[in-house]
């Protein structure tokens, strides 16, 4: 990495609802694990006490790394196997890039955070309210976290996603704005089933 790159702090995060029936069905589907995991990862799964939980840890880690790689200008595409997660879940590798990971889990969810840079990223996983919309809940969570960091009110913050013709979901990564102006925070949003997650990192201030 160049010195300029080392000044950047970037994050990607992903949450998976372990109780989501669709996730459970996917894990059981023939060929699904093979489509997502490398041979080395599958060997780790075969020896695992709880292979389903560990599989979703791998999956979330790959998704978190994917979101970060896009911010670095990479195009990992739809191939999960191009991102290999270490057996200790502490890092992932994409070609010659190594990305630090932090993977955590509770009874019903797993969460992965991928990050680079000097800043200590923050993240939070929250359960959706009964009638809450996931995308709005994720944005609210992120704005609340960012307001604390920036010393402003959440009402002054907004999350923007500009359309993109090259990304798989049709949008660029989210940007956090204060009164319409992009902040210095890099942010990431995720939701799955009953859970939303947000992560942010503040770029190291230049001297």
């Amino acid at each position: 990495m160049t010195p300029i790159r080392s000044e950047l702090a970037l994050v990607g995060n992903d949450v998976v609802d372990l109780g989501d029936p669709d996730n459970r069905e996917s894990f059981a589907r023939p060929g699904y694990v093979e489509r997502v995991c490398t041979p080395a990862e599958r060997r780790v799964l075969e020896a695992a006490e709880d292979p389903e939980r560990l599989f979703w840890c791998f999956f979330a880690a790959k998704e978190a790394a994917y979101k970060l790689l896009v911010k670095l200008g990479e195009e990992p595409g739809l191939s999960h196997r191009r991102i290999e997660v270490a057996s200790d879940l502490a890092s992932s590798r994409y070609d010659d890039r190594e990305i630090a990971l932090r993977v955590g889990h509770a009874d019903d969810w797993v969460h992965a955070l991928a990050s680079i840079g000097p800043a200590e990223p923050r993240f939070e996983v929250s359960e959706l309210g009964e009638h809450a919309r996931a995308s709005a809940a994720g944005r609210d969570l992120l704005c609340r976290m960012a307001a604390e960091v920036l010393g402003v009110t959440g009402a002054e913050l907004s999350v923007e996603r500009r359309p993109s013709t090259t990304s798989h979901d049709g949008f660029e990564p989210p940007r956090l704005c204060e009164k319409g102006v992009p902040t210095g925070l890099d942010v990431s949003l995720s939701h799955d089933g009953r859970y939303v997650a947000a992560a942010l990192a503040e770029a190291k201030r230049r001297q």
């Binding site: 998976v16 669709d22 996730n23 069905e25 996917s26 589907r29 060929g31 699904y32 489509r35 997502v36 999956f59 998704e63 994917y66 195009e75 990992p76 595409g77 739809l78 191939s79 999960h80 196997r81 191009r82 090259t166 990304s167 798989h168 979901d169 049709g170 949008f171 799955d192």
Partner: protein, 95 residues
Amino acid sequence: MTRGGSVPGAALLPGLPGDVSNLLPALASFHVSSRPVVGRRDLGSPRKSLKVNSARLVDVVLEIEDAFEIEVKDEDADKVKTIGDAVKLILSSQA
């Protein structure tokens, strides 16, 4: 995401080669937006058009492999950014 839904706009297939008309049944078990998945010029990005997350997109790839009896290689999957790309991939795999 709900499985077992129908495909809104399934009858709208202008411009889609007949060989890939099975794409719709292959995707029929996945929740899609109220707009037609196909029949639009842009044939937008898979995740946006299908309103599926990445975990379900893996299911979509497997459905396509089963429906068309093809193998989607990682490097080919990398290139699929739109539904139109998926159609091209299917056609080239069948050629």
